[in-house]
């Protein structure tokens, strides 16, 4: 899959889809280039952009993975947008739709009205590049803080130094929360400005009594500016260590996605042993992450003993990671071209021993969990993700698999060492919290088997190649299946051993937009559990805890009065 761009048409997966697209929209495609035999980039006319994306999405089983903006004024005078679609129909490939946005207008037709999955991406590109998506109904900021200066777009090449910290202008939030509820609802605003909330996020639930009518949330309280630093301070090899820190739970998946994107862009043939080691570690990461999620699910239904038991056993996965990488978290194992550590015989044996112990202990814990009183009542039928909604918003991982969609990057677009691995795709059709939890349980045991398989078949040879040359302005996608779903990175090399652009889309980013629909119709006390069931980063989960609070409907004090009082904290109804 890492062969150079000059591949005969026949070997190119996705060419039939592109031919069909050209037939349907004869004048839309201006240019076609192939990054790998399964990755094509089509430059299209700006006006045709929504049509092309929509056609691929709706008629050829495309799912929107990521959209990257890029300031290419220094290369071709324009801005560019790259909508990357994961094609999961007859031809499983990636097709990236590229359109140039003239620097003179800074406007492009929004894709969101046709493909709702694009909404966060288009909001982000407005924040970061100052490009206006015409027709995008949501005009609010997504990434930048409320008090960030208007008109300062960090990722424009000429806008600012990566270290510039504009003076704060205010302490208050000005974000407008959306409420689609018909009829009267009570607003429950609890967020980071509340003294009791330690978490970087802000949720608002619109409730009627105990029922959630609608929900909205403000994320990106942890926005740091990683994409900017990756193209300024760091060399392209250092970014692998930055990618490790996109997420503290599934950082290695990001690191692999990033290195894969560069390796694809530069056509580097990564040694098979390195790819096998990457897969072993990705699965190790899944082991700890799924145990973490199962533990947290216990925590959120008040079953702390279960939480403690899962975390106790989880320590074994941490020992495994420490033995294989030298660190419990942030594995720091990748370089462009391979990995930095080998799995020697001694480690091989110890890994198999730990895998055996984990299989046995987790089997017992899962049986214990499912036999726990009250548990099923808390998770069954709660937090329904409608398969239709899922299809519109392109969520990933156990979240989408729990709603019956058979999407798994490891199978759809085999990367790293997954090529020859026999692996089922676990789906559930309950669409609820229970379904997603059971998908994770099955995946946990599958991961154990995958590690055993890969270790048994691991080829010899080197774990690193340095046999490549850095070429400027090459770009490609890199992707992994993180514990939470597909992580996808789009990278473009610069001309000074640095990146020109790095776009990193974490799996949870793809899952947030559907959460709103999953919350609707449930009671407020189930909110933390529902949010935990998409397995966002821990801090995100905790901040819904705040929300859960609001469920109480008081019988002695009028509920609305309570809400008002909780909100304004003046004129106590009891004084």
């Amino acid at each position: 899959m890492h062969a150079p761009t000059a591949t005969p048409d026949a070997a190119r997966v996705g060419s039939d889809t592109i031919a069909a697209l050209r037939l349907k929209l004869p004048h839309a495609v201006l240019d076609e280039s192939w990054q790998t035999p399964t990755q094509a980039t089509l430059t299209v006319k700006l006006d045709e952009l929504p049509n092309v994306v929509s056609t691929l999405y709706h008629e050829h089983d495309g799912w929107l993975s990521v959209m990257a903006g890029n300031d290419e004024r220094t290369i071709n005078g324009n801005f560019a947008l790259y909508y990357a679609l994961s094609m999961e129909g007859a031809e499983k490939s990636f097709i990236v739709v590229r359109a140039e946005v003239p620097a003179a207008t800074e406007e492009f037709p929004s894709v969101t009205p046709l493909v709702p999955a694009a909404v966060w991406h288009e909001r982000e590109v407005r924040d970061m590049f100052g490009l206006t998506p015409v027709g995008l109904p949501d005009e609010r900021r997504l990434v930048l803080p409320d008090d960030w200066p208007d008109g300062l777009h960090p990722l424009r090449k000429d806008s600012m130094d990566y270290r510039l910290r504009p003076e704060p202008t205010g302490d208050d939030e000005t974000y407008q929360f959306k409420n689609d509820a018909k009829g009267e609802t009570t607003v429950v605003p609890l967020g980071p400005l509340h003294i009791t909330s330690d978490e970087p996020g802000h949720f608002r639930l619109f409730v009627d009594g105990e029922d959630i009518i609608d929900a909205d949330y403000r994320m990106f309280y942890v926005h740091r500016g990683m994409e900017k630093v990756a193209e300024t301070r760091m060399g392209y090899n250092e970014v692998t260590f930055l990618a490790d820190r996109v997420c503290g739970i599934c950082g290695y998946a990001h690191s692999v996605a990033y290195t894969t994107s560069i390796e694809n862009a530069l056509g580097i043939a990564v040694p098979a042993r390195a790819q096998a080691i990457r897969s072993v570690l990705l699965e190790t990461e899944r082991l700890h992450s799924h145990l973490l999620n199962l533990g947290l699910a216990c925590h959120f239904v008040g079953f702390d003993t279960g939480f403690m038991q899962f975390f106790r056993v989880r320590e074994k996965t941490m020992t495994l990671a420490e033995m294989l990488t030298g660190s419990r978290k942030t594995y720091a194992l990748n370089l462009i071209g391979g990995v930095r550590r080998d799995i020697l015989g001694e480690q091989h044996v110890a890994t198999l021993r730990l895998i055996g112990e984990l299989r046995e202990e987790v089997t017992r814990l899962v049986e214990m969990l499912l036999a726990t009183p009250n548990l099923e009542g808390r998770v069954k039928g709660v937090g329904i993700l409608d398969p239709g909604i899922a299809r519109e918003y392109s969520p990933v991982g156990p979240t989408v698999r729990g709603s019956g969609h058979r999407r798994d990057t490891r199978v759809d677009h085999a990367f790293a060492g997954y090529g020859g691995v026999a692996m089922p795709v676990n789906v559930g059709d309950g669409c609820d919290v229970l379904s997603r939890t059971l998908v994770r349980v099955s995946e946990f045991f599958d991961s154990l088997s995958i590690i055993e398989q890969i270790l048994a078949d691991a080829p010899g040879g080197p774990v690193l190649t340095e046999d490549f040359t850095y070429k400027p302005h090459k770009f490609a996608l890199g992707f992994t299946e993180a514990p939470r779903g597909e992580d996808i990175h789009w990278s473009m090399t610069g001309d000074n051993q640095k990146l020109f652009r790095w776009r990193c889309r974490a799996s949870t980013y793809a899952n947030w937009p559907v959460l709103r629909y999953m919350l609707r119709g449930n009671t407020v006390s189930d909110a933390p559990l529902i949010v935990a069931s998409i397995d966002p980063c821990y801090s995100c989960t905790d901040r819904v805890t705040v929300v859960d609070v609001n469920k109480a409907s008081s019988v002695t004090v009028p509920y609305k009065e309570m809400e008002r009082y909780c909100r304004e904290r003046t004129n106590s109804p009891l004084k």
């Binding site: 009791t196 925590h299 008040g302 106790r312 726990t372 009671t523 609070v549 019988v555 002695t556 904290r569």
Partner: protein, 312 residues
Amino acid sequence: MPSLSHFALAVVQAVLLLAAAPLLSGFMRVVRAKMHTRRGPGVLQDYRDLIKLMKRQDVHPPASGFVFRLMPVIMPATLLVVAMGTPVITRFAPIDALGDLITTIYLFALARFFFALSGIDSGSSFAGIGASRELTLGVLVEPVMMLSLFVAALLAGSTNLGTIGAAVASLSMHSAAATLMAAAAFGFAVYIELGKLPYDMAEAEQELQEGPLTEYSGPSLAMVKVSLSLKQLLVVAWFVAVFLPFGNATSMAPLDLAAGLVVFVLKVLAIFAVVGIVENSVARTRFRLTPRHSWLGVGIASLAFVFYLAGL
């Protein structure tokens, strides 16, 4: 008027119960740690926590009012009054007037009322919602308590806790079935009243950040914490006094009292060990489903009443 020795007993037992309350919560923490398969703190940890808290700064949120400040005093005071009236090591209430079940129910309700009120008065939304949950829970659990205790009172022919206990202990209740049903219903109500999982609604740590306790700090927090432990000890003592009075001292003879004390300690430890295992092996009930559970309690209590009427 109670005799001086009875009054002395009342005071001593109240003070002892108060002093032992942190030991009890320390014991619960040890049970919890064992269930978590971890080492955990020592059984004296809650004393260390309280001593520390007594030395810390007491912060009042700007939005809080006088109820917020008063509660850490009123709640333990109310509970101490209950402690003086409950037959703990004796079969009779040390102070007869306080040993009336209606008085006890209302004293508990008073403590609960102030606890909830302080949450609303603190100005924090977490505390406020914990408070409203606490009141809801009160509304749900009190009918069960009342009904089951009234059945016991009818059976014993008195509303005095000591008299009911004596009747149970001498196995002279008119209806064994009705007594057992009433005991079951009351036991269930007491369990909810303990504020333990799956019914720890008001102080739910993950959901409410400890509810009405959210805004308290320093000495006030210490007082509220010790009050909550005392309350747990008292409701269990209450149950023991009415439905498990076997082995209590029947006279004021020192040897009798000592034996009564030993029996009481053993009973309480056994009950709390079971409670500890239960609370650590279940998930929290959905708050919305709590009424259904409490209706079950009402049902059992009503059945006890029917049995009483039928004289079974």
